[in-house]
Symmetry: C2
Subunit: 225 residues, 2 copies
């Protein structure tokens, strides 16, 4: 029962425009191929062969799962630097789609599938990514199962602020994506944001995808923990 682990570069190659160009790093090892996707294009679908895993270079990727009737849960948003798509079997159990225009590096499951060489400290990064993903997943389960709408939105804003390192957040995704990530409807997300704005906790400039955090402490109180 093999699992997918392979080397991951720590040096981020410059974003390339090519559709799927082979990539060589300074050390000469051929380790990945650049792939560019445009908004809403799918990187892989549920059930696709999991021959590669990916690292985001620029843009945002959503990994999501669907119910028969179309209900959708976005497990996570993958931001630049994030690694995702590592699978246990040989099929992807999730779909991955571009939220906006995206560039990723595709790593072949490759030579590290069976032997995990110790000096190859590179497998380390992939393992790190899986453990980090599990950590986030566990936190997110608490949010989905036990938090109310306001708490969910507050947590989301704090999370995004943390990942962007600033209190002015340029949300890369639509309200639908946010709703499907938080287990809410777009209306409830919208109402929660409006409510936070009336509180003075955040500001919502005319440009609809921007959120400015005015009172970080108030958000943290709302977070629940």
């Amino acid at each position: 029962m093999p699992f997918m682990i392979a080397a991951a570069s720590r040096a981020l190659p410059p974003a390339a425009a090519g559709k799927s160009a082979p990539l060589r790093l300074p050390d000469g090892g051929s380790i990945g191929a650049i792939r560019s996707l445009s908004k809403d294009q799918s990187l892989y679908a549920e059930g696709d062969s999991a021959a590669s895993f990916y690292k985001v270079v620029s843009g945002v990727v959503r990994t999501c799962r669907l119910l028969r009737d179309g209900r959708r849960q976005i497990a996570a948003f993958q931001l630049p630097g994030d690694i995702f798509g590592i699978e246990h079997g040989n099929r992807h159990r999730f779909a991955a789609e571009a939220v906006g225009d995206v560039t990723v590096i595709a790593y072949r499951r490759g030579r590290l599938d069976t032997p995990m060489s110790s000096d190859d400290g590179l497998a380390r990064e992939a393992m790190d990514a899986v453990v980090a993903a599990l950590e986030r997943a566990e936190r997110h389960m608490l949010l989905l199962g036990r938090k109310g709408a306001m708490e969910k939105v507050a947590t989301f804003l704090l999370d995004m602020a943390g990942r962007v390192h600033g209190s002015v957040i340029e949300l890369p995704m639509s309200r639908i994506d946010i709703a499907d990530h938080l287990g809410l409807t777009i209306e409830t997300v919208s109402r929660s944001l409006t409510h936070l704005e009336r509180d003075g906790t955040i500001a919502l400039p005319a440009t609809r995808r921007t959120v400015v955090i005015r009172q970080m402490a108030a958000l943290r109180r709302l977070e629940g923990l």
Copy 2:
């Protein structure tokens, strides 16, 4: 930024009664210590040093996280054979508690923390466990975020039936634990079960912890996917 990986035995030692006895496997390698816990005893709490990870020998362990005000989310139930408690940092981010009486093996984070030797195929089992946990976590997020009460309970019963390999399920946990796993209240869990019983989908013998699945197909239809 080290992560916790160490060897895991594939041969399951016999359950021991001792509180924390050193263990030696046939091959002579000292790999873990047996630990026994009684009902509701905690194996580790959120924030505890993560010097070990664990494998369930007998009984069931719940891994859970709390909100300030006491709301609780059980991320997963660990059944015999399951490995859990592998962390990215050196602190546990979750609490782990015995659902009933439990025996686990504790593995030291140990020698495999830094060098992940390839021939040591044992690290493999731990990696497998993390990827499997992530897979379950992702499925569970879909349940928590997008399924209704009946769908949640149906999914839970199918899951338990699958792990026990039978249509007669001896639930090892209380309604509260089920509710905190599914993001519901005990009342809603109870009502859902009663409703399924009236349907003829399941039977609920007088002994309160037993569920008999009568119509697997009906449950699958309810599952949503």
